[in-house]
């Protein structure tokens, strides 16, 4: 492992963007970072709120129409190399909001995330478990490490 990927593996800044959904995934991810029980920092994952600092973008929620543009902008603001992790059923396929409906289908969902920005890793679950978030982030890492 070169110095480049070594350094990348030892300091990963993750940014969380929440694009609709029910809050459940979102809180579980914050939980994964904040709660001392999971403590993402011990796996060298730091939480940031600034796209310029981020390496990993964690997206939750089905991406509502209002959120489409901000998500794109934030994605653009992250310098390469970058990873996008879609977390939760909503982010993967639009979740209940896109797929379950009665007489009128939902017109509010622009997602899933894949249709808006390229996704590198997918974490299933409704809501995702914090353990899965950490595992997902770690499993997507090689791509980040091997990038130029």
């Amino acid at each position: 492992m070169g110095i480049k990927s070594y350094a990348r593996a030892r300091a990963i800044h993750a940014m969380l963007v929440y694009t609709g959904g029910c809050n459940g995934c979102d809180i579980e991810i914050v939980n994964a970072v904040f709660s001392p029980k999971y403590d993402a920092e011990q796996y060298k994952i730091f939480l940031t709120w600034n796209p310029r600092e981020a390496d990993v973008l964690i997206v939750t929620g089905p991406v509502t129409k209002q959120n489409k543009k901000p998500l794109k902008e934030i994605y653009k603001a992250i310098p390469e190399p970058k990873l996008v992790i879609a977390a939760g059923a909503c982010a993967l396929m639009g979740g209940v909001y896109k797929n379950i409906h009665g007489d009128i289908p939902s017109e509010e969902i622009a997602g899933p995330v894949e249709e808006i920005i390229p996704v590198d890793a997918k974490i299933p679950g409704c809501a995702v478990r914090p353990e899965d978030v950490l595992a997902g982030a770690v499993s997507a890492l090689p791509k980040l490490l091997e990038a130029k």
Binding site: R10, F46, A77, P79
Partner: protein, 326 residues
């Protein structure tokens, strides 16, 4: 020749030590207080800047991107100068190796925040595309500003009053030894023992520490880059290697201020030719740890709490000065 080598060696050592400080702070104090494992010591200080060096350089979104990008370099240089003046080999430069020059360079350090703040135009504030400008809004035609503009305003205010404690504390040793030249202050302490062990010295050291925390924008004095409103404040748009420089600048400032303390209050200048440098390193490690144990238990201060604290610290500093005169 010999002395130039000494200076460079000292700087390198200071640089290496300063890289470890953020990690020590995070791992040993914050993580321990918060009852978790925490990141490896090398991560926040060394690996993070290194990683940023290998990222793609993007132009920041700013009216003057080049100026904006060069600001951390200016900051780093001014810190470097301060550090240079504390090295004993430079004491014969006279005017430069004096408290006044140090105060001047510290001022540069503060002023660049104002520039950074007003030059950064991040996507996280106004540029976030969201249709909320409606005719029926409460105040439709108000001028809109970026979050970083608030940071710039705050930095401006901090120049006015935030750094008083530190400056006053710097002058305590000068009054005691009767000279503003660092060489004289060190010489005085070699004869009379460290200033820290006098009444004025102790008060001065406390005030210095408060000023140290304010200058480093550490919790609770973090209003310049408070997460609760301005997210990261002036640093918002730095990416890739420029962000690495910001990280390094902060670590080096931590080390330099601690060195300044050991020169002014302990009479131990940093030089690789003496064992005294161990004292410097010890102080440099102790200060962030002490700071971290305060910041782990403190919320952000708004100006309502900030003013009384700095005012109190300033008064304390004046008391120290008076005690020094007597």
């Amino acid at each position: 020749m010999y002395s130039i080598l000494g200076v460079i060696g000292t700087i390198i050592i200071g640089f290496i030590v300063s890289l470890w400080l953020p990690g020590l702070e995070r791992k040993l104090i914050h993580a321990r207080v918060q009852q978790r494992i925490g990141p490896p010591i090398s991560s926040p200080g060394i690996m993070a800047p290194l990683k940023f060096f290998f990222k793609q350089t993007i132009m920041p979104y700013s009216p003057l991107p080049r100026l904006y990008n060069s600001l951390p370099l200016i900051g780093l240089l001014s810190v470097l100068f301060i550090f240079l003046f504390t090295v004993p080999e430079t004491y014969q430069l006279g005017a430069f190796a004096s408290i006044v020059a140090i105060v001047g360079f510290l001022k540069i350090e503060e002023v660049i925040y104002v520039f950074m703040g007003s030059l950064s135009k991040s996507v996280m504030s106004l540029r976030m595309p969201f249709p909320d400008l409606a005719k029926g809004a409460k105040h439709p035609n108000v001028q809109r500003s970026f979050l970083e503009d608030i940071s710039a305003m705050r930095a401006f205010r901090l120049i006015a009053f935030g750094s008083f404690p530190l400056y006053i504390a710097l002058f305590v040793p000068a009054v005691i030894s009767g000279s503003i030249s660092l060489g004289d202050i060190v010489a005085y302490q070699q004869v009379h023992g460290p200033i820290l062990f006098s009444a004025a010295g102790v008060i001065g050291a406390i005030v210095f520490f408060i000023g140290y925390m304010i200058l480093l924008n550490e919790y609770p004095f973090v209003i310049l880059k408070a997460k609760a409103d301005v997210i990261e404040g002036p640093y918002m748009e730095y990416a890739a290697k420029w962000r690495a420089l910001v990280y390094i600048m902060r670590g080096f400032l931590m080390f330099t201020l601690a060195t300044l303390f050991s020169v002014l209050f302990l009479g131990v200048p940093p030089s690789i030719f003496t064992w005294g440098i161990l004292v410097n390193i010890l102080v440099a490690v102790l200060f962030p740890m002490l700071m971290a144990s305060f910041s782990a238990f403190a919320p952000i201060f708004t100006f309502k709490q900030f003013y009384p604290v700095t005012f109190g610290a300033t008064i304390l500093g004046v008391v120290a000065l008076l005690a020094a005169f007597i």
